[in-house]
Symmetry: C2
Subunit: 485 residues, 2 copies
Amino acid sequence: MSTLAALRARLAELNDLRLLGHLAAWDQRTMMPPGGGPERGEQLATLERISHERATGEDLGAWLAELEGADLGDVDRDLVRIARRDYDRQTRVPTELAAELAQAAAAGQDAWEVARAADDFPSFAPVLERNVELARAYAACFDGYASPYDALLADYDFGLTSARIEEVFGELGRALPPLVAERAALPAPRALDVPIAAQEVAVTGVLRRFGVDPASWRIDVSSHPFSTNIGLRDSRITTRYQDGQLESVLAAMHEFGHALYDRQVGPELARTPLADGTSMSVHESQSKLWENHVGRHAAFSGVIAQELTDAGFAVAAEDVHATINAVRPSLIRVSADEVTYPLHIVLRFELERALVDGDLAVADLPVAWNDGMRRLLGVEVPSAAEGVLQDVHWAGLAFGYFPSYALGCLIAAQLWEALEADLGPRDEALSTGDVAAIREWLRERVHRHGRRLDTVPVVEHATGRGLDAGPFLRHVARTAAAPAR
Amino acid sequence: MSTLAALRARLAELNDLRLLGHLAAWDQRTMMPPGGGPERGEQLATLERISHERATGEDLGAWLAELEGADLGDVDRDLVRIARRDYDRQTRVPTELAAELAQAAAAGQDAWEVARAADDFPSFAPVLERNVELARAYAACFDGYASPYDALLADYDFGLTSARIEEVFGELGRALPPLVAERAALPAPRALDVPIAAQEVAVTGVLRRFGVDPASWRIDVSSHPFSTNIGLRDSRITTRYQDGQLESVLAAMHEFGHALYDRQVGPELARTPLADGTSMSVHESQSKLWENHVGRHAAFSGVIAQELTDAGFAVAAEDVHATINAVRPSLIRVSADEVTYPLHIVLRFELERALVDGDLAVADLPVAWNDGMRRLLGVEVPSAAEGVLQDVHWAGLAFGYFPSYALGCLIAAQLWEALEADLGPRDEALSTGDVAAIREWLRERVHRHGRRLDTVPVVEHATGRGLDAGPFLRHVARTAAAPAR
């Protein structure tokens, strides 16, 4: 077997194991009886251990070294480049540290559950201090980054720097608060009490218009909506239903965006590490594009209203649009609206960067949190549970993850502007629920490249520009002005 | 790490991979969108390859050699004994032959699908000839068996010989045909047109009485009913619904029996190869016990009737009992009744043994099949599709598997006699659907031992006797005589 064939065989195997991990995780969240939990944990740990062993073998390192000098085609050159990056990221972390990180992440999440339920930050502080220390030890495994935090960012968005994020988020921090104040002063839309049965019909109906069919998709329910791919022709999304709301429909569109990205990766990349979304922020841009730019589009409100009306819940497009575009500053990130959402992220970025880079002590975190909420969103935080303890990320050692949520909103808006510049305004197509051209544009400009292009290169490739907050700010200003038709 | 700890860690890992394989297979048959099929095949092949590699490593062989001389506790001694057996079964087969067998099994099943659909045995004959050859080559990898067929049997029922099976099946071949003739002469029971909705309620209701609860069980639908365990507290069974029938209820009870065996293995055996059913025939005895001795029991017909009546389909216990105990000779094994079923197996055993041991040519198989059906069941076979081509087993190289289906019926009857001798007749408890004592008796006598006792030893342990056709023959004679109460 040639060296390239050996490399490809190993990478295909790692890809299969990754997808089996997706299946085991999907099942755990949708189908598994609760009694299966402890053993599922063992099964996932075994899968992870075996994958890690085969992803860090000396044989793999030797193949990569040999192929880095070889004359390869375009795809294989990128394959070797990305495989080398993954190999280095994994082999530079000493085994003992990797084990400590995994343990601390699991224990941290348990401690967080308890602390949040008890609204007790002080009990959680020592855990968080240790996590920050471990995150710094992890960051120290890698060379060439301007700061520890930048080294962590590379796990989620390779090539992005905190300096650049700071610039972009600075614009959001300046431009959004006045817009939020203005929008929040508008009268609240009248409540739509959409029964769950009608929501279910609307979710299925909207997704069917997007091309979701039972031949290669599943739609299920889970307590937190998510999407996963278990193959290019096996996409699974979930949503959740709450009586009287429309979050189920937006969440389904959001998860559709993630899933579509996974399944429109170029087939020539199948069973390689290139057959995956390139970064957390580009992944999030795909979900946000379908949620914010399709789902919240004034023209598309008519489609949602039609689905609900057909399901027996008669409603006007205007009311749907007003409900899903209402802006209200609030305490909790996951239930924030489109406009306030990025501000929740700006705060988390500032704080986690300062924690990791040594500019903020854990003891000072709650006050910094509450000050930030007042400054960015104008709200008073009444409790740690509704403040600094609301998210699991830091408990689980996912420092560097938060920025991708807001970057996703920005990139989605950049892509949408470029898409409308190419295809013309989508109003007419969206008023009939026709998204075929959007799917194809995204496939061509973003999806098919998989991991061959990193975050900024793929944005440049698709839009002709680098990261830019302008399109998002224009989008939210426009939505504020445009009533539904 | 001690050698024993190293062995246990490897075996735990292999157990986790086995359960992940169960999950992937379960998902494939119940949840997976059809588009996922090809990639699922790759994922399962990767899982199988990695498991095989780790199950046949030289390190594992060295640990076993070292531990075979060590002073170990009872469980560890059995662990080493069974791990050695598995290791030898896997390492004695040359890699090339193993690959050829896997390929031939896959290709054989494809060829069989086509041939059966076209009712064309001659097109399938060369495939079957090659499979017989490969089965003989596989059997030749193992020493110490009286015949090639006996070497194959060991994969399904270690310790059983074809000579003993021949004796037991000989009794069935003599005793059952007259009984079948007598029962078949009775008037057919009146058809019960049970709607699917009522069947669903009955399936859920009956299983709830057996202890199936959503905390650690799932009940789903698949085109062929099956059961699997993904952990001791994650049992999954399926059934299928056809309008107007009660097969769904019996199939659910059958699969419950398999699943209960898997989950009542002693917890001290968890994550070892001992934590599994000991053989195909003992596994089948567990499903048959719940199907034939609980489900078809006259006293239990009242419970099924009650569930159906509560679901809005009013029916008398007598009618349920008559329907699920009707006896009619027929062509197709999978839809055969309790009394004729073992005769279908006797025929297959005779034929596959003769094929593998070189006493029957593939070209002569259809005539031998049709002669056997006339002799054992008194039916004329109108086509290969309804005759020799009806089962996939030989196409998939599963020679030696068939006997376990009938042995399961016999062992179930043996266990039931022993159970009633210990606990007293079950009529009263079953009339209220109370099976707690049955579950416990099976746990104590059969389940908890896992693979520590092989087929005949576990039967002896539970009943005080070896394999014996007597209890089954008494059971079917009694059922014929007993009307429902």
